[in-house]
């Protein structure tokens, strides 16, 4: 080191030389053998705190992403047809949106067709064990979709409390009562969480049927394929006098079945079948896996990339 350099410079350079970017404290410390290691504080899963994602900075970022990235991409992939959206003008907010679950695309599609005043004030119940099992995933979904962690395999008071508190605080909630994506395109057994929350908070339930997302990104697929999607909003539902959450849940499931029928036929046909108790089961035939998939029928005829993007030469 040159002796004429000022002392401060010599100290600075010396400090750089001494720095050894390896081992503690550059890396995490090891734990002494004699010290009992406490159970790690759970900061993921249902214990992940999503409060930050509902503050204004995060909401602003989410709104920009939803409106400028998610919606355009969704419209390219799914070109959703929306039926019955006018019911949203009548529903008293906040509401609980209950939908069937076929694909990871369900949430972006549903959010993209909701009016902006609802879209930007909506949280999404997401599986704690899937979307919140890593911190980076938890951050990502909380920010991009306002996801909140829900325990789907067992009753969890914290999950229910968080969701109920949010609804009571004025947030709309999207929840998938099947607890996960369908493996074959048909409905799975509904769980009681959505009905319980509606009963607990007294808020209306808006049934929503999503048809076609299964064709875009089914469970297990690694890349999406374009397919038209139909989103059908049903009439908002509230608990009848004397109705308990279990019965209300059954009624929600039946209503979604009727909306599924409507997607495959038309509103009048579906209503008549519902009135006659002949609505086809949305749970599909009781048969082996390939026959259940077969029973879904072929993809919609406009699922043809070449035709959609072909240059019309005539």
């Amino acid at each position: 080191m040159s002796p004429e350099l000022p002392a401060a410079v010599r100290r600075a350079v010396g400090g750089v030389r001494r720095a050894r970017p390896s081992g503690f404290p550059w890396s995490a410390p090891s734990w002494p053998g004699g010290v009992e290691r406490p159970a790690p504080a759970r900061e993921v899963g249902v214990d992940y705190d999503t409060d930050w994602s509902r503050r204004y900075p995060a909401r602003l970022v989410r709104a920009m992403v939803l409106d400028n990235v998610t919606r355009p991409m969704t419209h390219v992939l799914a070109t959703p047809t929306v039926v019955g959206r006018e019911v949203l003008e009548l529903v008293e907010l906040p509401a609980i949106f209950v939908a069937n679950h076929s694909s990871h695309l369900d949430t972006p599609v549903l959010l993209s067709v909701l009016p902006a005043r609802i879209r930007h004030k909506t949280v999404v119940a997401a599986a704690a064990d899937h979307f919140f099992d890593r911190r980076w995933k938890a951050h990502l979904w909380a920010l991009s979709l306002a996801a909140v962690p829900i325990e789907r395999h067992r009753v969890n008071r914290r999950s229910a409390d968080v969701a109920a508190a949010l609804v009571e605080d004025g947030w709309n909630l999207v929840i998938y009562p099947e607890g996960g994506r369908t493996p074959d395109g048909w409905f799975q057994e509904f769980r009681g969480g959505a009905a319980y929350l509606a009963a607990r908070t007294g808020r209306p339930v808006v049934p929503v049927h999503l048809e076609g997302t299964y064709r875009i990104l089914p469970k297990g697929a690694d890349r999406p394929r374009r397919h038209p999607v139909r989103v059908t909003f049903g009439t908002p539902m509230t608990l009848d006098d004397g109705e308990d959450a279990r019965r209300f849940g059954t009624r929600i499931e039946a209503t979604l079945g009727v909306l599924a029928d409507e997607a495959g036929s038309d509103w009048w046909t579906a209503r008549r079948r519902a009135a006659g108790g002949t609505t086809p089961s949305a749970h599909g035939p009781d048969a082996t896996d390939w026959r259940r998939v077969w029973a879904l029928g072929p993809p919609r005829p406009d699922d043809d990339d070449e035709r959609r993007w072909a240059i019309r030469r005539d």
Binding site: G15, F24, P25, W26, A28, P29, P32
Partner: protein, 528 residues
Amino acid sequence: MSPRPGFVLEVDRSTPPTLFWHGEEFSLERLPTGSRVVYGPEPLAPLADPVGSIRDALLHPLGDAEPLPALLRPGMRLTIAFDDVSLPLPPMRRPDVRQLVIEQVLDLAAEAGVDDVVLIAALALHRRMTEAELRHALGDRVYDAFAPYDRLRQHDAEDPDGMTHLGHTEQGEDVEINRRAAESDLLVYVNINLVAMDGGHKSVATGLASYRSLRHHHNARTMQHSRSFMDQHHSELHSSNWRMGRHIAASGVKVFQIETTLNTDTFPEQFRFLQRREWEWTMRDRASFLAASASLERAPVRIARQILHGVRAPHALTSVQAGEVEAVHARTTEHVYAQQRVVVEGQTDILTMGLPYICPYNVNSIMNPILVACLGLGYFFNLYTGKPLVREGGVLILHHPTPNEFHPGHHPSYIDFFEQVLTETTDPVEIGKYEESFATDPWYVHLYRTGHAYHGVHPFYMWYWCAHALDHLGAVIVVGGERESVRRLGFKRASTMADALEMAQDVVGPDPSLTHLHAPPLLLADVR
């Protein structure tokens, strides 16, 4: 979650390096397997309602004292004395606990119609506080109401008209304290009890005393017989102060003592790693450490010092007691012990400690070599009850750069002590022969009274503070210390901790046991 108690770690192969203070810098040292590291208890939860607790303490005093409002009446002379800038360490965030207490005392005095109120900073022979320091301790409201009218004063132990001799204790000790305090109808003392040695009769008997009085317990003999001075039952310093305090009470000085304890929440968020156990450092702690150590290491010392002395501790009030001195102090000591006590089984051959940038006598100043010795051998060595952490004949290893640097305004007599006395002898008993000349030097007295200088005798007290440790230890080694300064102090110097351990083995023999005192948080080792 309730705070965890103190803890003694036995170092094994997977123990990460241990953090040492090194003056204005830090060092991570890998201690030998089998070493022990003593960690203090985590900070206790603060009082939920500090203002309400203070009011409650004033209205429900301990001992045979009456509630404060009953002691206040129109026409009386009320003096409120308070601890000076040496407490707490580092200075706490505003509002300082002294402000909280004094504002309430003044509210009660105002309600009672007391006009003659004077506030006195109980400096003893410490330097006078600056306006900024007074404002920090008392708050602007109190400062602006009292300072312009000469009602906010600083104790002047050399003011011939400002002291009153109250006689002698049964052991012949002079008791001389501040005249205004002695002649008041009521003396309210507002204390901060950071360590077990603070408070009690020491507040008035030392804080408001003169050199003539202090010399009876601030001497090598008393310190050698205070084992330790954190242990009231084995401290000659404590006994002497208690004799004087009782004499003051018997002389008719009515003292209403208010004592407070703080938790050991010592450093703010950006220095949080200092008080965490190393294996629990989060990524944020490690990043803070790397950023802080790199910045402090590369910054000029003056800047590093300025940064660190700008730190305001998030200390929080854990208890407040008021009333009769001894009853109050007994309760206060319980709270201090609850915060700081750690049981340690057995002594050690080698005791290590990292010394920080601050001690009670260099707030907003420079830690000169004498203060380094005092902090290590005086304060940290004495943080025990029962037996010293290190065995007799053992080795103390300090980690500090020990620069030969003095604050000429604050520590003028230290410079001469370092150059003239320590070059002759480092024996605390022998240096006593020079004490009188420093204590009565008119230049030092002038600087003490009119500037911001510690009293001329103060460096002697710092050296006496080391007397017990110097008597007890086989050797003192300073890691990373400046060669000439360390030699002048009579210690040995080592470049690295490994070298220091090698050198220590020459004194204590092979395969020595080693214990490291990890602070912060501050602790009191209960050695059994």
